[in-house]
């Protein structure tokens, strides 16, 4: 390909303007809980029908990458992931904000998102076809084991009691099973109510489980929402650069994990960031600090989830199979534009494809200054607004956001119910994080298991199907390491200490 003409085509003033507007709009929408990247794109898609397809793609890509990044704002500042991809950002981002490092966490999230976004976009530009083949090699069994790998995180997310973490995770799994089953079509745990027929929407569950307990505590405790230093310290750029540099391997590894998981059509940003988080924690010299406000945790999740943006376009553009839910909407928009994605897109309409890829790179770079400015504004707003205004504002936002997902009041009731339940459980020492882990990973684990069971059963090769496929076996080993390593490390340390003493 001739790089320069494509780069220049992406760099027209009109496209740049679209990229800037897209990043700003995406970031703001992504920051509002309930308004997800998928919805942002679905709402703004009709506006692109009047402009050329390549420019439309640039705008949609910018909205998408902005929205995934924007999800970190609410994750850090109010402990509520703005999009499912930012779930794991709450684990360390919010504790950082609590202790007065919210500004630092936002700047780190910005660096990590830009870094991850660039890695994902570069993989899209350079390695799309082979990665698409990898995505196809990923079958039901692999998805099942990937979900198991994600579930091993429960040990990391259980504050104090592992048993309580596991129970919480099981509650999450049960919530994820309500509604009509994809495989088999049985209707489960709906208590004969129409509201639960379609299952519990993940975003609805997220808002309820994360945001409602924060709101209740906000009202029930006299302390300020976030601790703030006496002087505003701006972006804390130098400090953030230092931390990012020290965490560069973490950033690189998490970006690659995000890319690899991002190309899998049935996975998505939430799982990518959870797995990257688990891996960052395992590789860290100080895993006990994770969950207590460890900057590396924020770097891991935010770089991984933005890497899924570029990566998700790999199957979308090369195979015509959407890598993530927002990609599905973009794919639909392309069809309306008359662009047929799939095997022939790269040869027949390469102009559009490459203009888009460079557009995505440019939008990701633009996210650096835009994100820093928006982030500072968000931070100042949250700390400057008094509690008696902040609490009703967030409350209203959660209700509107929940309603907007499917225009459904039932969803609002489900959200409030889950939220109050989570608060009560929280008082009893059950954290929200393990429950959410179950909600997010349950459907993937269940479908993968049942499909693999059926496929293996068709030829009487169930054992081979589950354990003998190379990618599956690799994931099993990784899951085993993540699960057992902390225990082993502790034993080893104890033994070394004993021998030194003895």
């Amino acid at each position: 390909m001739d790089t320069l003409p494509h780069l220049l085509a992406a760099l027209t003033p009109f496209n740049l303007l679209l990229a800037i507007g897209g990043v700003v709009a995406g970031t703001i929408i992504g920051a509002l809980p309930g308004l997800t990247a998928t919805m942002a794109i679905a709402i703004l898609t009709p506006l692109t029908f009047g402009i050329p397809p390549a420019s439309a793609l640039v705008a949609l890509g910018a909205i998408y990458t902005g929205a995934i990044y924007g999800g970190s704002y609410s994750a850090i500042l109010i402990n509520t992931p703005g999009t499912p991809s930012a779930i794991a950002t709450t684990f360390d981002g919010y504790p950082m904000a609590k202790r007065g490092d919210g500004d630092l966490a936002l700047t780190l999230a910005n660096f990590a998102s830009v870094g991850g976004g660039l890695v994902g976009a570069l993989f899209l530009l350079l390695l799309a076809p082979p990665l698409a083949q990898f995505a196809l090699a990923f079958g039901p069994v692999e998805y099942f084991w990937l979900a198991m790998l994600g579930l091993t995180l429960v040990s990391a997310l259980s504050d104090g009691s592992l048993l309580k973490g596991i129970i919480g995770c099981c509650i999450g799994l049960l919530i994820s099973m309500s509604g009509s089953a994809i495989v088999g079509g049985d209707i489960r745990f709906t208590f004969d109510s129409q509201a639960l027929l379609g299952g519990v929407n993940v975003v609805v569950a997220l808002i309820g489980l994360f945001c409602v307990p924060v709101l209740i505590d906000l009202v029930a405790t006299p302390d300020a929402h976030l601790k703030v230093g006496s002087v505003l310290r701006g972006f804390r750029l130098r400090e953030a650069l230092g931390i990012t540099w020290a965490g560069k391997w973490n950033l690189a590894r998490s970006s690659v994990i995000g890319t690899v998981i991002g190309v899998l059509p049935a996975a998505g940003g939430a799982i990518a960031s959870l797995v990257a988080y688990a891996e960052a924690r395992r590789a860290s010299g100080t895993p006990e600090r994770f969950g207590q406000g460890e900057p590396d945790g924020v770097i891991a999740t935010e770089s991984a989830n933005n890497a899924t943006v570029g990566a998700g376009f790999i199957p979308t553009l090369t195979l015509g199979i959407p890598g993530t839910p927002p990609d599905a909407v973009i794919l639909g928009a392309l069809l309306v534009h008359g662009v047929r994605t799939g095997p022939n897109l790269f040869s027949e309409q390469s102009q559009i494809v490459y203009t888009f890829m460079f557009g995505l790179l440019i939008a990701t770079v633009l996210m650096l200054p835009i994100g820093l400015l928006l982030g500072r504004y968000a931070f100042r707003t949250v700390i400057a607004v008094p509690k008696y205004v902040l609490a009703p504002m967030i409350g209203l936002m959660t209700i509107l956001g929940t309603y907007a997902i499917q225009n459904s009041l039932d969803d609002v009731a489900v959200m409030l119910g889950l939220g109050v339940g989570a608060w009560v459980l929280g008082r009893a020492g059950f954290g929200a994080a393990p429950i959410v882990l179950g909600v997010v990973l349950g459907p993937i684990a269940e479908q993968g298991f049942v499909q693999a069971w059926l496929i293996g059963g068709a030829t009487d090769e169930r054992f081979e199907t589950f354990f003998m496929r190379p990618i599956a076996a690799t994931i099993i080993v990784a899951a085993a390491i993540v699960a057992i390593y902390p225990v082993l490390a502790k034993r080893l340390k104890a033994r070394v200490r004993n021998s030194e003493n003895g």
Partner: protein, 318 residues
């Protein structure tokens, strides 16, 4: 008193007579809310987006597209009759879903609760294999299945869905056994076929249009060969009576008056004749059908009778 009442009643009647047809004739004088019971980017969504330019050309108005997803469409359909019945809220419907879901259990609506005003397109069933598959023809497929009953794994989207129906009806018609593997969404299903996770896929012609040389369609469920795929035989040619797929249409809340229903149907039937729409639908692998409001009862009756047979085969009807 009675005179007053009578006068009032007459006045009301006069107003009704005067405004009823006039209101319908003017439909639409504002944008129309079009509810899609499936995800953004899906086939229902794309179809609606493709209809919009034609609709706009005819009426000068547009769509406000909303998504209400869940339970394979049932989450939306069960709410249809509680929506405003002013003719400005339309909902996409899919067949045979509307017949099969209520057979399967409590889904919050009955087939006869849904007021269908028109059916405008068919997405025909297609039996698809990976381009590299040793199964070259429909005959190969049947022979392989007969030699090793149950060993052919066939992916499809959802349980008791159109794909599932196709699998069950075809297997019954030719007397073979295959193993159906349900996936979520056409994307994941097609990925499973391309990655050789399964041996075949029950899909629609749209998959053939999108995947081109990556897949091979063994046969499609149309009356005649589709202009986009001149080399792909129909099941009929092969002596198997299988014509159908997923039909898409429009429904309105039950309170919408007859006049208005007819008007909506007329407008959408005209959109079906819009050359731009026709070309794009054909390019996507769809088949346009023209079932207007007056033809809906007959069409639904025929499809309903077929669906009962399918329901029996699926074990939904005892």
């Amino acid at each position: 008193m009675t005179t007053m009442l009578r006068l009032a009643a007459m006045a009301a009647l006069a107003v009704a007579v005067a405004t009823g047809p006039a209101m319908a004739a003017e439909w639409p004088d504002k944008d129309v809310t079009y509810i899609i019971p499936f995800n953004a980017g899906g086939e229902s969504d794309v179809t609606a987006r493709l209809q919009e330019p034609g609709f706009n050309k005819l009426t000068g108005k547009g769509f406000v597209i909303q998504y209400k997803t869940g339970a394979g469409g049932a989450a939306a359909w069960s709410q249809l009759n509680s929506l405003t019945a002013d003719g400005y809220t339309l909902m996409g419907i899919n067949l045979p879903h509307l017949f099969l879901q209520p057979m399967g259990g409590k889904v919050g609506y009955k087939t006869e609760d849904i007021t269908v005003v028109s059916v405008f397109q068919l997405t025909p069933h297609a039996l698809v294999v990976n381009a590299g598959s040793p199964i070259k023809t429909l005959e190969d497929y049947i022979a392989t299945a007969k030699a090793t009953p149950g060993a052919i794994t066939v992916a499809g989207t959802g349980t008791h869905s159109a794909n599932h129906v196709a699998q069950v009806s075809f297997d019954k018609a030719v007397g073979i056994t295959t193993t159906y593997i349900p996936f979520t969404g056409t994307g994941a299903t097609t990925a499973a076929l391309l990655g050789n996770q399964v041996k075949a896929q029950w899909a629609f012609t749209t998959v053939g249009a999108e995947q081109k040389d990556n897949v091979r369609m063994l046969a499609i469920a149309t009356e005649q060969r589709h202009p986009l795929f001149p080399d792909v035989p129909t099941f009929k040619e092969k002596g198997i009576d299988m014509v159908g797929g997923a039909y898409r249409g429009l429904a309105v809340p039950a309170g919408v008056p007859e006049e208005m229903r007819r008007r909506i149907s007329d407008v959408f039937m005209k959109v079906n004749g819009d050359p731009g729409f026709v070309a794009k639908m054909q390019e996507g692998g769809y088949v346009l059908v023209d079932v207007g409001y007056q033809d809906v009862p007959g069409f639904m009756g025929k499809l309903g009778a077929e669906s009962i047979e399918v329901g029996k085969a699926l074990g939904l009807v005892k």
